[in-house]
Symmetry: C2
Subunit: 142 residues, 2 copies
C-alpha cells in the first residue's frame, strides 16, 4: 500500500480527500514502526512550512484509517495507543517485546508462546513475562 492506494481506499469508502488528510497520510507513510497520535503531531510541528495538525483531527482520522484498513492498532499498554501501516514492515502477523525499562519495542517474527521465551532469552532479554489477550464477539453480542 502506498499513499495513492490509501487515498483511493478512502475515496471508495466515500470519505473526502482533504488537504489535512493528505498531509496526515504523508506523515503516516513516513513513519518507521509503530506511531502514536502524539508522534504525528510532533512530526507536523517540526515541519516549519505549514501549520501543524490539530490533535482532534488526528484522533478522528486514526480510527477512520483503521476502519478502512490503511493502518492497524497495535497497543503496547503504555496508556497510549499506537498504530502501524497495514502493510509495511509490520504488516504480517507478529508480536513485539517491550523493554520494561526503556520501552524500546522490538518485533518478533515467530508466534508460539512457550518456545518464544527461550528464544527471547537467547536474544538477551531477561525476566520475561508475556501477556496474551484475545478479543472477539461473544455469543450474547454476536
Amino acid at each position: 500500500m502506498n499513499i495513492d492506494q490509501a487515498t483511493e481506499v478512502l475515496q471508495m469508502a466515500s470519505h473526502r480527500i482533504t488537504r489535512t488528510r493528505k498531509q496526515l497520510l504523508q506523515a503516516i507513510f513516513k513513519m518507521r514502526g509503530p506511531f502514536s497520535a502524539g508522534d504525528l503531531l510532533a512530526s507536523s510541528a517540526s515541519r516549519s512550512s505549514r501549520q501543524p495538525f490539530d490533535l482532534v483531527t488526528i484522533y478522528r482520522n486514526l480510527p477512520l484509517f483503521e476502519e478502512v484498513g490503511i493502518i492497524c492498532r497495535s497497543d503496547f499498554s503504555n496508556g497510549t495507543s499506537h498504530f502501524v501501516l497495514a502493510s509495511g514492515a509490520h504488516a504480517h502477523h507478529h508480536h513485539h517485546i517491550v523493554c520494561r525499562d526503556c520501552h524500546k519495542v522490538e518485533a518478533l517474527d515467530f508466534c508460539i508462546v512457550d518456545a518464544q521465551e527461550k528464544i527471547l532469552n537467547q536474544m538477551g532479554f531477561s525476566n520475561i513475562e508475556h501477556r496474551l489477550e484475545f478479543t472477539g464477539t461473544c455469543r450474547a453480542c454476536g
Copy 2:
C-alpha cells in the same frame, strides 16, 4: 495467600499495617476475578458502615501490593488497569478473552495460540483476534 499472610508480607517489607490497608486487603480478598481501583472504591462505598476508601489511597496501595506480591497487574487494555490476587482462582498462568462489545472477561485454561482460536470459536466467540505481548529487560537495561 490469605489476609494474614498478606499482612505479614507487608510487615516483612517494612510497610505499616494501617486501618485503611487492612480494609483494602479485606476488600481485595473479597473480589472474584480481576478488579480495578474503581471496583475497590465501589465496594467500600456500598458498605454503609464506614467511610469509603480515598481513590488516591487505592492508587497508592495497589502498586505497593503488587510490588510485595499480594496482587498481579492484569491489563485488558480498556484504559483501566486491573489486578488479580497473586494466588487465587486466577493465580496460575492463563489468559483471558474479552468481548469486543460488552467487555465481559472470560478466563481460559489453556495457552497455545493457534489452537486457541479454534477452541474459542467452539465457545461461541466470533471474529477473534489476539494480542501477545512480552515484557522483559533488554541487554542494554539488564
